[in-house]
Symmetry: C2
Amino acid sequence: MTRKKVKLAYINNDASRKATYKKRKKGLIKKVSELSTLCGVDVCAIIYSPYNTQPEVYPSPRGVHRIVKNFKTMPEIEQSKKMMNQEVFLKQKIGKVSEQMKRLKKENRDKELNRLLYGNLSGKMNLQGLTVTDLNDLTSLIDLNLKDINKRMEEIAKETKNARTAASAAAKVPPLMNREVIAAFATTSTVYKNDRARGMSGHLNTKNQTKERIR
Amino acid sequence: MTRKKVKLAYINNDASRKATYKKRKKGLIKKVSELSTLCGVDVCAIIYSPYNTQPEVYPSPRGVHRIVKNFKTMPEIEQSKKMMNQEVFLKQKIGKVSEQMKRLKKENRDKELNRLLYGNLSGKMNLQGLTVTDLNDLTSLIDLNLKDINKRMEEIAKETKNARTAASAAAKVPPLMNREVIAAFATTSTVYKNDRARGMSGHLNTKNQTKERIR
DNA sequence: TACGCTATGTATAAAGT
DNA sequence: TACTTTATACATAGCGT
């Protein structure tokens, strides 16, 4: 029963086209009626098809006439303003999708950097093929991580000090990062810290969430 | 993020109504454009809302004019034929839902009988509050089960006979029903078999599938 | 041919930003 | 207020009858 993803183009098969028409026309009329009810707006729809000699309309021939009449009395120039025609519709859509693509590209880049960083911590980093920008961004990312680590280490130090009076409290220190990882961060950052361009810190997404859907 | 089931009525909250309007208008236009593309039909939609001084249309003011012009030239009487107005739409829907309700009621009844039968096999059946019809249907159901059982018992007898030559084959006889269950079926059916009305066998649904959705 | 079924795609109500 | 995200409701493609 595997359903295809619906190619947005004229359906060549006659039977399928008619079946689709019937289903979608029904759905469309339902949507129109819902919009009208929920938002209290005047809507009309007219559908010409080869399956009916007369057009199918919503809400009723009389209702359509009333709405259409209003429409016709407007000067054509006025009508062109703020209208949703196909061109505008598509342009808006393209704009939105471009925006999303931009965002996703950025996220992918951030993820890639994270992967590079975390995936190579215990060994040597493979920095072949990275551009200067890549390296700079990577350094920014490392800096961010370093800051977190330092903060955390201070906290641990404080907690440990406080805990000295009670021997059992030692167990409460959460081993968030092991020493090797911390050492690796520190080392890596030291190497690149001094020859990186400034002003790029803070824009990297350190969260590694998954986000693939494009709507 | 729990989404409510959408009450089909005017939305009182101004902000919600506007938000819903924007979303649904967008969705509607998309649907209209898809129907047009997929099925190659002429469609137009006009939406008047308090959020725009001018109506929003599809596919374009000019396109709407063209389609509307066609519509206006038809005699009103002809237009009323085969049209999808609100009343017809609702009546069709009511008819469909009634059909479904009927079917579901029947299914529920069948399930109920099955439950009654299987739920009381090892003890005494509680037959209080059952109508004559209930009892008759129950008897039909039992008869069906009995037939299956007899058939199965014959098979088993045959298999056992065949298996006598090989002692190890005895393990292959599948214990589909235990003796108590079989005895209960036989007993129950015997009790009611002789005072039931005839002519109702065969229409009971012995499958116990779940089906709750109503569309 | 039209209708019912159900797995799957799509629209969208709420909540978050 | 408008845009984004997420969980859910809803629409419907491909089958089977």
